[in-house]
Symmetry: C2
């Protein structure tokens, strides 16, 4: 009889289910308040305007929108994105753009073209779980550099030290992966100085930088910072940055639409890779978003989204302040944008063990350990503030605080929490 395990590839046998996606299933239980997902607030979706834009596609060019398209992406959409990127301070042309099925596809295609088994990527510790999974599916490895909880980006001394050691050990290091704006999971934003230092480091060692910027436009506090892509253009314009962008957080994730910005040679290599991956991105959705972007209304949507999320973030910080125990070893980030914040708990609390109790209390988070390629921290969690209503945020934080306090009390009473079932 056919034994599947003997047929699966090494990659497949190594693949783990996404903790986050599995948690999303848990959170479909009734009455649970989930801070686990990374869902935008559907109130921000401009349903009527998107409906009108879709109508235009049907009346103006349905036969093109329903047919195969080019792998690079629809010309009209790319023309609109050139304008969108210009407003961000990026001087690019259509040849610098590849349309993708949102950022996750880009996160899959980048290691596809750069990573051989055993190759390294430098990344923040913690970093986005989807980037870790995509890298793992090509048997790549991550050199994690601490970067959390302040706005100074990576620890540059540590980066220099670990890079030099890895190279001396014969490591093949391909690129640096960073999320400088309101990072997932930490919510932090890199300072201008930290960004410049990273570009200088990449120049010094001839490395590419992959700048993943899904939340960049969702800044609701603080000062605008130039992107790393822009800094490269302003410094020596070496074309070493690959920018990943998506409509998922600034418009609607259901359209699965993103784009890569890079120098034309890299775009062309990605185009060849994408031909074998899916031929082209959803043509109808490309035409649809091109029509929508032409209205210029996305900037209003982004502004309203920022206002809404600022309000929710402030409220969540207020509730955390009010309900969580006051201790020097319990703190959280205060992001100036994005969708997430990061809570560090006392070292004796293991959030993987605690999640079972949290779900029993009808509240969910993502365990911090999911965001480490190796040697995970076990005492942290990622919390989303964009999706829940204020009522839910208040009640959810209350429940979370109860669970955390119980852990502290149990610890102080010398008792230890029981281990959670494997795989949670």
């Amino acid at each position: 009889m056919l034994y599947l395990e003997s047929l699966y590839s090494k990659n497949a046998n190594n693949m783990k289910k996404s903790v986050i996606r599995e948690l999303l299933k848990l959170t479909q239980q009734p009455e649970i308040i989930s801070f686990a997902g990374g869902l935008p607030d559907p109130d921000t979706f401009p349903v009527e305007d998107l409906h009108q834009a879709a109508d235009l596609v049907f009346t103006k060019h349905a036969r093109v929108a329903l047919q195969y398209g080019t792998t690079e992406g629809d010309n009209e959409l790319r023309a609109e994105l050139v304008k969108f990127e210009e407003r961000q301070g990026h001087k690019i042309g259509p040849d610098n753009l590849l349309i993708t099925s949102a950022s996750q596809q880009a996160l899959d295609m980048i290691p596809k073209i750069f990573i051989d088994p055993g190759d390294y990527v430098i990344a923040e510790r913690p970093t986005y779980v989807g980037a870790i999974q995509a890298l793992q599916s090509y048997q790549g490895r991550m050199l994690g550099i601490p970067a959390c909880c302040d706005n100074d980006g990576m620890d540059m001394d540590e980066l220099e030290k670990r890079y030099t050691k890895a190279k001396a050990d014969g490591a093949s290091i391909k690129y640096i992966y960073v999320i400088p704006d309101f990072q997932n999971p930490s919510g932090i934003c890199w300072s201008l100085q930290a960004r410049k230092a990273l570009v200088a480091f990449a120049y010094k060692y001839d490395l590419l930088i992959v700048e993943d910027a899904p939340y960049r436009e969702i800044r609701f506090l603080g000062e605008h910072q130039p992107s790393i892509y822009q800094l490269d253009q302003e410094m020596e314009n070496r074309g070493i940055v690959i920018g990943l962008k998506t409509f998922s957080k600034i418009l609607a994730p259901g359209v699965r639409m993103g784009w890569i910005v890079a120098r034309p040679e890299i775009i062309q290599k990605l185009v060849v890779a994408k031909q074998a991956v899916d031929l082209c991105t959803n043509v109808f959705s490309q035409k649809w978003l091109a029509e929508y972007l032409r209205t210029g209304k996305i900037y209003e949507v982004i502004k309203n989204t920022c206002n809404l999320y600022r309000d929710k973030r402030n409220f969540m910080c207020e509730m955390l302040e009010k309900h969580l125990p006051k201790r020097s070893d319990l703190f959280w980030t205060k992001p100036e944008g994005g969708l997430f914040l990061w809570i560090a708990l006392p070292k004796f609390i293991n959030t993987e063990e605690m999640i079972v109790k949290a779900v029993a209390e009808k509240v969910a988070y993502v365990v911090g350990s999911a965001f480490y390629f190796d040697e995970p921290e076990h005492n942290a969690m990622r919390i989303n503030f964009s999706y829940s209503s204020k009522t839910q945020i208040e009640e959810g934080v209350r429940r979370l605080a109860r669970v955390i306090k119980a852990e502290i009390v149990a610890h102080e009473a010398g008792r230890h929490s029981v281990a959670a079932p494997e795989g949670v």
Copy 2:
């Protein structure tokens, strides 16, 4: 300075641009008649009904359609597909289904979960170029078994012989990839006997079969044959078949929507792989097609498409009969369905060299050599009959005949055609 070639993965440095996609660019030249692409006739797109279905999504569940969805795929769409598959004679449930971004994504994910570098797939010779490219991107290899120009599927003696030899040489063989219905590129359809023999072979050697069936519903002549998926269910029901389906040829390729049918363990493994690939397929399009399928109108569309393509196929065969030289070493397949036929030319004609002359004469085809993993035949071409109008078919075949006749005349005069520039 950064030298990209030293950073690219082995896969990326091996990737070749798709001959077909590059040809599609050539064919955008004015006045060219292209038999090269695999485009459906846009007259078959049910624009009005699709528009109404999209309107329903906006009015009924826009907030869900614009949000993230599950990796497995939308429940409503999967419920509709269970019914669609039932009409095909397949007994399945939603757990047997994974929604993909059309078939090409499935063709990428199958080797992702089964192929380690150097592993083999058994396939027809010739076979679909997109399947070859996807396999190559995982450094897989193909054991090609002759299957062309009659309806008897693979040469089973050859299969047994080559399989036994490869195993004796230590090859790791993972699955058999076939397109039994109106194959791309040959247009042939496997007989019932050939299908049963393949299932028996797979049973004997504990192999999976990947049945790629994008054209299955587009049968316009001859008798219905059970799918290999159905035959496995009827024979020993071992669950060894993975079926790949798409809306690209039966509805509209621009929506980039397909589905995989397989036993639940394999679907679950693919779900984990897809999480890292793109999180989920376009949610709006899934809801949209679910609404459209609910109308039941797709069966009428398929019927009309079959009628239209039968007419075009007959006309193209008539024109080939009328204009191509009559020789025993020049013949073509007469498909009972699908979008393509295959022309074999005299051995002394190299269609890669001839394509430059054909394009100069304003007619295009796909070179036959694109459809071989190794040891390509050079004297064949794939011809599409679904896209061009009858006027274009007549004029295009006339042009093609002129080019072919000139090759024959040149050969008989003892002259040889000049080599085409590399990469065409």
